[in-house]
């Protein structure tokens, strides 16, 4: 409020009384605001002295360790090797245990961890999850430093670091391998920086929380407290600075290198290489980093084969780009397009703007032959039409009005919306395409995957990830189970380009009935076990474990009405390290998928064996590093701190979390104002007779 504005008296005598009261009220409000601001300021200053806005039992300040992350990415063709250094610094007087819940790409294969204390380095060992946890806990008991990396989801990990001394830094290095994403001639690599706050459905149980997050464990998400790290409101400033460096060797001359969400410097390095760094130094960990590069058209490789020999077996990674479909696809196929739009609290801010614009674009793209419907959901699900309607001008107009009026608030009860959109239909005449716009900010992924698997029928599910830190694991797995494809939109500027690409895919014939035939004596164990249909511009990625790799691999498939055949000679293969790890990670995914829907954990042993053999972190195996000597003094104060994380960029804190209730009345303000007015009135009335 502008106080000076309210104080200016009106010159009109008729409104003098009004304005006088107004002036007094204005003055008063200014006074109250000033007083209020002052008391709040004093209180805030007091609270700030108490560390993270909390006083401990004995009044001693509690403060948390800080975290700095350095990421080094080396890209070789279609694979990336990434080293993440998490530097925990303890500015407090107590010995700290830092617990950091952080994201990694969902396809990352974490195969190395080491703890660095000063100049000493302790290598991490892979162990079964419970054994690793026990090793960590006993080291902690003995006063030795230790670090433990556990996997909560394919894209969420927890790092525990015990006994960081006062004013000490402990660095944990995590390394992983991953495949690079490729689509329509461009290559992408994402590095997620923050676990966006997840909505946790279900009822809280009465058990003690298994983690340190803000959500209680529920029947729908039994590990909710492990995937919901504390979040600091943007108003308090950003924390967790991240530095990223990429050594890009695409293997071909590039037409372009860029990063859509961060400013970067890309300096040429050799003939086809680039060195990429953040242009403005470290950035807060509050949105995904993405590097995008496009090879010059004529240089783009159509086939890439990488191999490695590990522990007596051969491993291969194969990428093949099918030819673009013939123009024969001109015949338009009628579609039934069901749009699901997430209007939950986490979408509030820039995300809902992106989603609405994307949906409006999609509506424009429909032709009168098509049918469509819209489903929106937050805590409740709302369906625009009772059943799909033709895309007539009138229906489209109605839908546009509906979309424009959408607002984001409330919970993310996704299951009823998916149930409404996926009806197990089996209709050969029309293509039923479900387009799902969401940030995927939910903790009950497993439940939703089962639902998609059970109800998909003949539909295809296309996920469109919205916002600065989408749940990429949910998006990609949901699309895979839904036999569709996923698209990410990170900012409003991208809506048009990304949605156009998606529509082109929706309207083009797929490469179907794909088969890969390995030489007879290779005894190949291949991933994926069932090759999915490929949409326009998508390459085929295959990893395999083989007894011996030699000879020729035969690929066959159907593009529209045409048959496509290709032969890949393994003579082309180039040796590369870490291919075994990629295959093992993929195999673990296959084994996990096979368990989906069954109550038991049939493949737990197989996954554990595989992960131990290939030194991989998985849901059943963790990496633990323990210092040899005890460093904790006998009389030391120890404390556990859950490392705070940022709210993803563009999110609205209050829309996600709400606030504690407003707990003061206006009584005091009203009484004071009343007294002031009464006093002035009395003075005024008493003054009058004295003058006559």
């Amino acid at each position: 409020m502008d106080c000076s504005e309210r104080n200016r008296p009106s010159r009109n005598r008729l409104t003098r009384i009004d304005s006088l009261v107004g002036v007094i009220r204005g003055l008063f409000v200014c006074l109250v605001v000033a007083l209020g601001a002052f008391t709040d300021y004093v209180a805030a200053a007091e609270a700030k002295d108490a560390g993270l806005m909390f006083k401990s039992r004995d009044g001693e300040p509690l403060r948390a360790p800080t975290l700095m992350t350095e990421v080094d990415i080396a890209v070789t063709g279609i694979i990336a090797r990434v080293r993440v250094r998490q530097k925990f610094y303890n500015p407090t007087d107590a010995w700290q245990e830092g617990i950091y819940v952080f994201p990694l790409p969902e396809q990352s294969a974490v195969d190395h961890m080491r703890m660095k204390i000063g100049v000493r380095i302790v290598e991490g060992q892979i162990k079964e999850r419970e054994a690793a946890r026990a090793t960590y806990e006993s080291a902690k008991q003995e006063g030795r430093k230790a670090a433990l990396i556990e996997q909560e989801r394919p894209n969420i990990f927890t790092n525990n670091v015990a006994h960081i001394g006062p004013n000490e830094e402990v660095e944990v290095q995590i390394e992983y391998q991953q495949k690079v994403q490729s689509d329509q001639g461009t290559f992408r690599l994402r590095f997620p920086m923050v676990v966006g706050s997840r909505y946790i459905p279900g009822t809280p149980g009465e058990t003690v929380a298994t983690g340190t997050g803000w959500a209680p464990d529920t029947n729908a998400v039994p590990d909710a407290s492990r995937i919901t790290p504390p979040v600091v409101d943007r108003a308090r400033g950003d924390s967790n600075p991240v530095t990223i460096r990429v050594d890009l060797n695409a293997g071909a001359a590039l037409a372009s290198v860029g990063s859509p969400y961060h400013k970067i410097n890309a300096v040429k390095n050799g003939d086809t290489g680039y060195r990429v760094s953040l242009a403005d130094g470290p950035v807060p960990a509050n949105k995904d980093f993405e590097l995008v590069w496009t090879p010059a058209v004529e240089r783009a490789a159509k086939t890439v084969v990488f191999t490695e020999t590990f522990a007596g077996a051969d491993y291969a990674l194969l990428m093949v780009m099918p030819p673009a479909a013939q123009q024969a696809a001109a015949r338009h196929i009628a579609r039934d397009a069901i749009f699901i739009i997430d209007t939950s609290g986490s979408m509030e801010g820039t995300s809902i703007a992106q989603a609405k614009q994307a949906l409006l674009m999609a509506l424009d793209r429909l032709t009168p032959d098509d049918a469509f419907n819209i489903v929106q959901f937050n805590s409740v699900t709302d369906v625009l039409f009772n059943s799909s309607v033709t895309a007539s001008a009138a229906n489209i107009a109605k839908a546009r009005d509906y979309v424009k009026a959408l607002r984001a608030t409330g919970g993310t009860e996704m299951a009823p919306a998916l149930t409404a959109a996926l009806n197990n239909s089996d209709n050969q005449r029309v293509l039923r395409q479900v387009i799902f716009l969401t940030d995927g900010a939910v903790g009950n992924e497993a439940q939703l995957f089962e639902l998609i698997k059970a109800r998909l029928g003949d539909s295809r599910l296309f996920t469109v990830g919205i916002g600065s830190a989408p749940n990429t694991y949910f998006m990609s797995k949901a699309a895979q189970l839904g036999r569709g494809t996923y698209t990410y939109i990170g900012k409003v500027d991208e809506v048009k380009e990304k949605m156009t690409r998606l529509f082109t895919k929706l309207e083009s014939p797929v490469v179907s009935n794909l088969r890969v035939t390995w030489p007879a004596d290779a005894e190949a164990e291949m991933w994926p076990r069932q090759i999915p249909d490929l949409y326009l511009g998508e390459p085929l990625f295959v990893t395999a474990k083989l007894r011996k790799l030699a000879g020729t691999v035969l690929l066959e498939g159907q593009i529209g009405a045409e048959t496509w055949r290709a032969e890949v000679s393994t003579q082309l293969a180039s040796a590369e390290s870490g291919i075994n790890v990629l295959w093992a990670r993929d195999e673990i995914e296959s084994l996990s998928d096979a368990m989906r829907g069954s109550k038991g954990e049939d493949n737990k042993q197989a996954i554990t064996d595989l992960a131990l053999h290939h030194h991989l972190v998985s849901k059943y195996t963790s990496m633990v590093a323990v210092d040899v000597t005890k460093t904790l003094p006998n009389d030391a104060l120890t404390q556990t701190s859950a490392m705070p994380t940022n709210l993803p960029e563009g999110w609205n804190y209050e829309a996600v979390f709400g606030t504690l209730p407003q707990t003061a009345t206006s009584a005091r303000e009203q009484l004071l104002l009343g007294l002031l007015l009464l006093a002035i009135a009395t003075l005024w009335l008493l003054r009058r007779p004295a003058r006559t």
Partner: protein
């Protein structure tokens, strides 16, 4: 004459102005008094509803148009505090009594039960509460649970860790901070937590 009329009129206007100011002052002052009266009086009306609830065990509305009902009774004999806690923590509930935040454990039950109230009416006493103070909660079945204060903290209104569930039986009392601020809107909250004393059964 004209001058006289003019000054007479001016005097009359001045008096009207004074009276209007008086009225406005009385209105504001009355409004403030009304808030306190409502807060005090409502507790008496709630008493009748609570007695009925205690008898038949079902939530009873204190007056026909009420959108809330008493849920539990909070007492701190040391401070002369005896309050009926209402369902929900909307502004309308809080005008009449402390409100139980929906979704947190029920008062007296295992888990974290969170109750909020205005710092300038029902929860003014919280500023005097100290570690170790005892309080009790009586539920609709007449069971009384005793608690001991184990934590006092000032936090931001966005800090929802305050609402987080727990395996223990905890009572969390929330009000605005600072207590003597004039303005009703502020970002800080005063949080008192109390843990249940085991072995305290029904009276």
């Amino acid at each position: 004459m004209r001058a006289y009329t003019g000054s007479y009129l001016a005097a009359a206007r001045g008096r009207v102005l004074g009276l209007l100011l008086l009225a406005a002052g009385a209105w504001q002052f009355g409004g403030g008094i009304y808030i306190y009266t409502k807060a005090g009086l409502a507790q008496h009306l709630l008493k009748a509803a609570w007695d009925k609830t205690r008898i038949d065990g079902s939530a009873t509305k204190p007056w026909p148009w009420a959108d809330t009902a008493p849920l539990a009774r909070l007492t701190l004999p040391a401070y002369g505090v005896d309050l009926l806690v209402l369902e929900g923590s909307s502004g309308r509930s809080l005008a009449f009594g402390p409100g139980h935040i929906t979704g947190t454990a029920l008062p007296g039950e295992r888990g974290n039960s969170v109750i909020s109230a205005h710092r300038d009416t029902h929860f003014t006493f919280l500023r005097d509460v100290r570690y170790g103070d005892e309080l009790s909660i009586e539920n609709a079945r007449g069971e009384v649970r005793r608690y001991r204060v184990t934590g006092i903290a000032i936090t931001d209104k966005s800090n929802l860790a305050v609402l987080r569930g727990t395996g223990a039986a905890r009572l969390t009392l929330v009000t605005c901070y600072p207590f003597n601020a004039i303005s009703a809107v502020g970002p800080l909250r005063y949080v008192v937590t109390a843990e249940r004393l085991e072995g305290a059964g029904a009276i």
